[in-house]
């Protein structure tokens, strides 16, 4: 069997997410962050942020929804039963703060086969209301036995 590659270059509709203070706090507590900039507006402002600021990896909360339709797209044709999340990269730009509305688009960068495994690489780009990039994500999924 071989991987299908016609979805390379395909883009999916944007998703939008409004960042909220309590959601930032919930995420920060789970990963064990205690910096008050993630919980307290005054502390965040004192540190130079517009409002309570999200931890960098909070980006999964607002960017992953854009990836859902891409991963389940029959044109991509990933076999979920044999899929693992193989690699991940994020590059951060503007901070994401409570009250920000962030729009994310997903694109298929690459699909290829190596050592009997299928590699599916997607990119997400997330921008705020001002059009400034908040984060760029590169998501690599590996499917065994393609």
């Amino acid at each position: 069997m071989t991987v299908k590659t016609e979805a390379v270059g395909k883009e999916w509709p944007a998703t939008s997410y409004e960042v909220g203070r309590e959601k930032i706090g919930e995420y920060a507590r789970v990963v064990g962050l205690d910096n008050p900039v993630h919980f307290d507006r005054e502390a965040a402002r004192a540190a130079g942020y517009r409002d309570v600021v999200a931890p960098p990896m909070f980006c999964v909360v607002y960017s992953a929804p854009a990836l859902g339709p891409a991963m389940f797209d029959p044109e991509v044709g990933m076999n979920f039963a044999a899929m693992v999340h193989g690699g991940q990269e994020f590059e951060w730009g503007e901070p994401a703060c409570s009250g920000d509305e962030i729009t994310t688009t997903a694109k298929c960068l690459e699909i290829f086969e190596k050592d009997g495994k299928g590699f599916y690489v997607f990119e997400t780009r997330s921008v705020n209301r001002d059009g400034a990039e908040v984060v760029k994500g590169t998501w690599t999924n590996i499917v065994r036995g393609v």
Partner: protein
């Protein structure tokens, strides 16, 4: 933190996620894949038990790198990881790292997250701004 040197180790971060951590991470992140929260499902697909979310462990790597930059979340500029071994709840995770390069105000740290001999995240590269 401004006296980092190439080849120097960063402080270790040790975290033992409790049994219900994957449930809380699922709620916080929105990733409810049952392999992380349902032992019967996990075993049915060939796993020994529920496994940690890879992105949770990446969150710990991000925390470790941010700590090096004095804890300011805005200082982490890039993080790239490979997920390899599967992580288990109720087992200590140790995040270790070494300064790979320093270029102007940008520092690159090589990082590994492991549970004992099992490296769950490797080839992790964090870029921070000092």
């Amino acid at each position: 933190m401004s006296d980092l040197n190439v080849g120097e180790a960063i402080p270790e971060l040790k975290v033992t996620p409790d049994k219900y951590l994957p449930h809380r991470y699922a709620g916080a992140s929105g990733d409810f894949n049952p392999i992380h929260i349902d032992p019967e499902f996990a075993k049915a697909v060939g796993l020994p038990n529920t496994i940690l979310h890879g992105l949770y462990m990446m969150g710990l790597v991000a925390r470790s790198a941010t700590d090096v930059a004095g804890g300011d979340p805005g200082k982490l500029k890039r993080l790239s990881v490979q997920f390899r071994g599967m992580g288990a709840p109720e087992t200590e995770i140790v995040v270790t790292g070494t300064v790979k390069s320093i270029d102007g105000g940008r520092v690159i740290i090589d990082t590994v997250a492991a549970q004992g001999e099992n490296q769950t995240i490797r080839n992790a590269e964090a870029e921070i701004e000092l």
